[in-house]
């Protein structure tokens, strides 16, 4: 609840770009009310371990690198006259347990080279892959999931 309050207030202050008394007061009141109303529900940041800030930053840069690679990959496929595709739906498994960790993993997979999370069932993720290298669960997991999982496992478990 406190972390929700803090993040709401932070967003409010960033959006306003001002620390004037009345702006801060309205922000505090609204954030308090929202944090109270959603005290059980919106635990977006609650599962994050603050002592893993360094890993989080490294994860962010790893993610940005993958995002750029994903785009060059899309550009390469789209610009090639032959449109080289071998699409398919593969199944992969994650070791992550926390909801937030899994959410970030699914989102990261969607934004990285040629993979799109389609469905999720417990520890299983179903991924649409534009160039299926291997439909085997272990091989696909190693190719798609492992890179992110190493970071997210430290951050969320």
């Amino acid at each position: 609840m406190i972390s929700l309050f803090v993040s709401l207030l932070l967003f409010w202050l960033l959006l306003n770009g001002s620390l004037a008394g009345d702006v801060v007061m309205v922000g505090v009141a609204a954030s308090l009310l929202l944090a109270f109303l959603f005290r059980d529900g919106l635990a977006i940041f609650a599962e994050w371990r603050p002592n893993t800030l360094a890993t989080t930053v490294r994860y962010f840069f790893f993610f940005l690198k993958e995002l750029v690679k994903a785009n060059l990959n899309v550009a390469k496929i789209v610009l090639a006259p032959s449109l080289p595709l071998t699409p398919g739906f593969v199944k992969v498994r994650t070791r992550l347990k926390s909801r937030m960790g899994r959410l970030l993993l699914a989102n990261s997979i969607t934004l990285t080279p040629g993979t799109l999370t389609v469905d999720m069932d417990g520890e299983w993720l179903y991924i649409h892959w534009v160039s299926v290298d291997s439909a085997e669960i272990e091989a696909a997991t190693a190719a798609i999931v492992t890179g992110f999982e190493e970071y997210l496992e430290v951050m969320y478990g």
């Binding site: 967003f11 960033l14 959006l15 770009g17 995002l67 750029v68 994903a70 785009n71 990959n73 899309v74 550009a75 496929i77 789209v78 610009l79 449109l83 595709l85 071998t86 699409p87 398919g88 739906f89 593969v90 199944k91 699914a106 989102n107 990261s108 969607t110 934004l111 990285t112 040629g114 993979t115 799109l116 999370t117 389609v118 469905d119 069932d121 179903y126 649409h128 534009v130 299926v132 439909a135």
Partner: protein
């Protein structure tokens, strides 16, 4: 200093526009809905981020708000794509003949 920032901003805007163009091209060229979503998601995310970075270089006082917009895009874009893809798969949208395997359909026994 201003010319450097202006130049950098311009380069970011060009890069952003280029990736958005590739995304649009992908929407036209890709064979089925899933591959189109793939092209659409990735290209629009990075294209928009580059455009925001360009705008931040040209109007430095907007930087904080532009960063917030970028953050929201990073969180919402993949979620909407995932939901679209799942809905398409559940309603048996036509898959490209190239599709090699479909583990999701296998598991659902559909």
């Amino acid at each position: 200093m201003n010319t450097v920032l202006g130049l950098l901003g311009g380069l970011f805007l060009i890069a952003g526009a280029a990736f958005l163009l590739f995304g649009g091209l992908g929407l036209v060229r890709m064979p089925d809905v899933f591959n189109r979503i793939q092209a659409g998601t990735k290209a629009t995310t990075l294209g928009t981020l580059f455009s925001l970075a360009g705008a931040a270089c040209l109007q430095p006082e907007w930087t904080l708000k532009l960063m917030l917009i970028g953050l929201f895009i990073l969180f919402t874009n993949p979620i909407s794509s995932q939901v679209l893809a799942r809905a398409a798969h559940r309603s048996h949208a036509e898959k490209s003949a190239l599709t090699a395997v479909d583990r999701l359909e296998d598991d659902q026994g559909a």
